[in-house]
C-alpha cells in the first residue's frame, strides 16, 4: 500500500484555466473602456468638424464612421464577454471533475486496484471530463473566431483613423486641432489592436 497522500491540493495546475478566463475578461474590459473613449472622442470630433465648416467636411464624415465603429466594437466586446461568462461554468466543471478524479485516484492508490467498482468509477470520471473539455474546446473556438472578427473590425477602425489624419491636413485653421484628434484616434486604436493580439493568443484550454 502506498503512503497516504496528504493536503490534496490538486488545483495548482488546474486553476490555470480560471486564471486564463480572468485574463481574457480583463482584456475585454480594457477594450470596452477604450471603445467608450473612442465614442466620446468621435462625438467631440463631430462637433469640432462642424465648427470648422466646409474645410472639415471629410473629417466630419470620418468622425461619424469612427463613432459607428466604436458602437460596433462595443457590441462585439459584449458578445465576447457573454462567451467568457458562459465559459466560467464550463471551466469550473472541468476543474471540479479533475479535482474529484485526482482525489478518487489517490483513494484507489491507497486501496489497491482490486477494489470492486473503481474501474467503472474511473471510466465514468474520464468520460465526464472528456465531455466537459470538449464543451470548453468548442467555446474556445467560438471565442477565437469572434476575436478574429473583431480584429478585422479594428483594422477598419485603423484605416478610418489614418484617413482622418489625411483629412485633418485640409482643415485650414482647425488643422492642428483636427490633427491632434486624429492622432489620438490612431493611438487608441493601436492600443485596442494590442489588446486583441493578447486576446487572440489566450486559450481557454491547452492545445
Amino acid at each position: 500500500m502506498n503512503a497516504p497522500e496528504r493536503n490534496l491540493h490538486f488545483t495548482s495546475t488546474n486553476s490555470g484555466e480560471l486564471a486564463r478566463i480572468v485574463r481574457v475578461n480583463e482584456e475585454i474590459k480594457a477594450i470596452v473602456a477604450t471603445a467608450f473613449r473612442i465614442n466620446l472622442m468621435a462625438l467631440n470630433a463631430i462637433f469640432l468638424a462642424k465648427r470648422a465648416g466646409n474645410a472639415a467636411l471629410g473629417f466630419g464624415v470620418l468622425s461619424n464612421e469612427l463613432r459607428r465603429f466604436a458602437q460596433d466594437l462595443t457590441r462585439h466586446m459584449a458578445s465576447l464577454r457573454d462567451m467568457t461568462s458562459g465559459s466560467v461554468g464550463s471551466v469550473t466543471g472541468v476543474v471540479q471533475q479533475q479535482r474529484n478524479s485526482a482525489i478518487l485516484a489517490a483513494a484507489i492508490r491507497l486501496s489497491g486496484d482490486g477494489v470492486p467498482g473503481v474501474r467503472e468509477a474511473r471510466k465514468r470520471g474520464t468520460t465526464r471530463l472528456a465531455e466537459q473539455q470538449a464543451k470548453l474546446r468548442t467555446l474556445d473556438m467560438r471565442l477565437r473566431a469572434s476575436v478574429e472578427e473583431t480584429q478585422q473590425l479594428v483594422e477598419l477602425g485603423g484605416v478610418l483613423a489614418r484617413s482622418a489624419k489625411i483629412e485633418a491636413a485640409y482643415g485650414g485653421g482647425f488643422s492642428p486641432a483636427l490633427m491632434q484628434v486624429s492622432t489620438d484616434f490612431a493611438e487608441v486604436i493601436a492600443q485596442i489592436k494590442r489588446s486583441l493580439e493578447i486576446l487572440g493568443k489566450e486559450r481557454l484550454v491547452k492545445d
Partner: protein, 246 residues
C-alpha cells in the same frame, strides 16, 4: 493511516468504526466514520471531509465492498461531516444521502442532485438497510438546528454525531472510553460551547434514555460502552450548555 475496526458483528450484520488517523494534518479535526453493514448493503455515517476521503475510502474498502454502499447518513451539514459527498458520488452516483430536510438545499453545494437526497422530517424516520430498520433520532440544536442521530435496535448502537464528542490529546488513542471521569474532561468544553440549547439537551437525554443502548458512538473521540453510556447521559443532563466559559 485510518483503519476500520469491527465494533459489532452478528452474522452479516456489522458495525465498522473508521477512527484515529495519526498521519492526518494537525489543522484538521480528527473524525470517526461508521459503516453499518447488513447483508448485501452498507450505510456510511458521517463520511467526513474532502481531505480525508482517500483514507476513509481505503479503510472502508479494506473491510467491505464499497459498491455495496447504499447510502450515506449525514447527521448534519458541517464540512467535517459531509463535504466529501461529491467524491462518494463520483465513486457511486446512485448513492442516497439521508439528512434533515433543513439541509436539502444546502448540501447540494457539496455535490449531488435532487434525487441524491432523502430528507428526514423533524420527528425522525425509519431508514431501511437490507432487512434492517434503523431509526433516525431527533437531536436538533445539538449542535446543528437540523440534527439527527442513528439508532440500530439490533446492534443496540447509537451513532450520536457530535454529542459525546471529545477532543482527545494525541496520547489518548484508544477506541473506547477507558476511564469515564478522565475522558469526560476532554468533552466538557466542547459540549458547553457547541451544544446551544438546554431544552434540546434535556429532550435528547429523555429520548435516548428510553433506548436500549450498548454503545454510543460519537463522530469525534472515543466510544462509550456499557454503563458509560448512561453515565454520559446523566453527565450531559446536568451540564450547563450554551456558554462560552464556566
Amino acid at each position: 493511516m485510518k483503519q476500520a475496526h469491527c465494533i459489532y458483528q452478528d452474522d452479516a450484520h456489522r458495525w465498522l468504526a473508521i477512527a484515529r488517523d495519526p498521519t492526518k494534518p494537525g489543522y484538521i479535526i480528527d473524525t470517526n466514520e461508521y459503516v453499518i453493514v447488513h447483508g448485501d448493503e452498507a450505510l456510511l455515517c458521517d463520511p467526513g471531509g474532502i481531505e480525508i476521503f482517500p483514507a476513509v475510502f481505503s479503510a472502508l474498502s479494506a473491510e467491505c465492498d464499497p459498491t455495496r454502499l447504499a447510502g450515506i447518513f449525514a447527521s448534519h451539514q458541517d464540512p467535517d461531516i459531509i463535504s466529501s459527498l461529491a467524491l462518494w458520488l463520483e465513486f457511486k452516483p446512485d448513492l442516497k444521502c439521508y439528512t434533515s430536510w433543513l439541509w436539502q438545499s444546502f448540501l447540494p453545494h457539496f455535490g449531488g442532485r435532487d434525487s441524491t437526497f432523502v430528507t428526514i422530517p423533524d420527528p425522525g424516520m425509519t431508514i431501511r438497510l437490507g432487512g434492517l430498520e434503523l431509526q433516525a433520532i431527533p437531536a436538533h440544536y445539538l449542535h446543528s438546528s437540523g440534527n439527527f442521530h442513528l439508532y440500530d435496535p439490533k446492534a443496540k448502537i447509537l451513532f450520536s454525531g457530535d454529542v459525546g464528542a471529545a477532543l482527545l490529546p494525541p496520547d489518548h488513542s484508544g477506541l473506547y472510553v477507558e476511564d469515564f471521569s478522565r475522558h469526560i474532561r476532554h468533552a466538557e468544553g466542547f459540549h458547553k460551547r457547541w451544544m446551544g440549547s438546554d431544552r434540546a439537551k434535556r429532550d435528547w437525554c429523555e429520548r435516548v434514555s428510553r433506548l436500549d443502548i450498548d454503545m454510543m458512538v460519537p463522530q469525534h473521540g472515543a466510544i462509550y460502552q456499557g454503563a458509560d453510556v448512561q453515565r454520559f447521559i446523566n453527565w450531559f443532563a446536568a451540564l450547563e450548555v450554551g456558554v462560552l466559559r464556566g
